[in-house]
Amino acid sequence: MNQSLALQVKNLHKEYPGVEVIKNISFDVKKNNIHAFLGPNGAGKSTTMRIISGLLPASSGEIFVNDKLIDTNPAYCHQNIGFLPENLPLYQDMSVEEYLVFVRNIHTIKTHDKTIDFETIIKRCGLDKVRNKLIRKLSKGYKQRVGIAQTLSYDADLIILDEPLVGLDPNAISEIRELILDLKERHTVLLSTHQLHEVDLLCDEITIINNGKILINAKKGELELEKYFKENVH
């Protein structure tokens, strides 16, 4: 038991017939930290994130969120893990507000917690001007904000962001960066990205995965990321 950890991944293993995708990986994510989860394409980042969020089952291993085992507490995990995949799960024909209310409702069926302050979330994510617009009419940057806002709409403790900065222009990247930094106050963020300079700006701790194995767990400043990647990641 460790009260200061938001996420504990222990000996996580995932294999499909004939292919080992994740090979007994273990890492911890501290509360109120932004934790980078890095690796080349096909390293196993997205699979790990999908297992943590409950979309895929693990072949073996344990995952604890706030000290609760996800296998035995699925309802707790649905309410406390906010997963934003690389391909944003947005209903294009809903307005921003309609979408956020829908996401809040489907995540609070068991708790009936409707006390979440939408106004604050909408303002915090800079969605005030577009709250009544259809999602299909929003720019990529705004869509990304809506995606992050949906994880806040049910007040998830652990927010998992898979490549949140892909395809954004420099202004949008800077805005989303500010938003992610702002999340740290009340949430824990597990973030995957290929943009190594963003890791320096955003993250407190780093885990690097390659070929399904953890290469290193390190704190910010302990690693020269680009050099490490060139030398160790193939």
């Binding site: 969020s53 829908f102 995540h107």
Partner: protein, 247 residues
């Protein structure tokens, strides 16, 4: 376990999406044109036969054809249900929420059924016209509506299952239509075989066999058992498909 509150959330979302999309209005327009044209033709040709009733000349063939139209339109109505959720990655959003797979399936099916009821409402003009001219046999008409309602529930269950198998809406609708045609053809196979028992089994497995009794106003409990079992099997297959991601 089934949670009505959860089903209602999916149902409301589906209903809004259905009536916001142009598809339902295109289907409704085609449906009205074809069924209106059929009604007019049956009514005109009924003048030539004086020894048969309006039930036999207009109501039975008209509702039989409306039932067939639903067989054709159901895969079009359901092709989006899971295929689009997969394509837009919103299925992940639903599956990581408090909703269970069964809540999602039933919410979607009920949403589609409401769309079908909207289309059926448009056909009320036919029995009302007959009734105003003194030919309304409402028990038989209501029995026909009951038959169409249950048959369409079966068709939609097949369509939703087909949609759960693919991301492509066209493949989904073709697959759904093929399964429904196979079920329809079982009735024909029942007539071809020389073995009486095999023939009866084939007939029993086809939806027209069960609709036919209802279209005559004959309400038999085993028809409803068939409809509920048929849709139950395809709902269960959809459920299996959705939970298969965990295997």
């Amino acid at each position: 376990m089934i949670n009505l509150n959860a089903i209602s959330l999916v149902y409301q979302k589906e209903l809004k999406a259905l009536f916001k999309s142009s598809l339902i209005y295109i289907v409704a327009s085609l449906f009205c044109i074809i069924s209106g044209w059929l009604f007019y033709n049956y009514l005109i040709s009924a003048q030539e036969f004086t020894n048969r009733t309006i039930d036999q000349l207009v109501i039975a063939p008209l509702y039989g054809n409306i039932n067939f139209l639903f067989l054709v339109f159901s895969p079009l109505l359901t092709m989006n249900s899971f295929a689009e959720e997969r394509k837009n990655h919103t299925l992940d959003l639903l599956l990581t929420s408090d909703l269970t797979e069964m809540d999602i399936i039933l919410g979607k099916l009920l949403g589609m059924m409401t769309g079908v009821c909207f289309l059926l409402l448009l056909t009320l003009i036919f029995p009302i016209t007959l009734s105003l001219s003194g030919h309304g046999n409402w028990p038989v008409i209501l029995s026909n509506y009951l038959g169409i309602f249950f048959c369409t529930f079966c068709y939609l269950s097949v369509g939703v299952f087909a949609s759960s198998l693919t991301e492509n809406q066209i493949v989904s609708s073709l697959l759904g239509f093929s399964i429904l045609m196979a079920v329809l053809l079982m009735a024909a196979s029942g007539g071809i075989t020389k073995n009486y028992i095999v023939g009866q089994i084939f007939s029993y497995l086809s939806t027209p066999f069960h609709f036919e009794a209802l279209s005559r106003g004959s309400i038999r409990s085993y028809d409803f058992i068939y409809f509920l079992s048929f849709s139950g099997i395809f709902i269960y297959l959809t459920f299996i498909k959705l939970i298969s991601r965990k295997w």
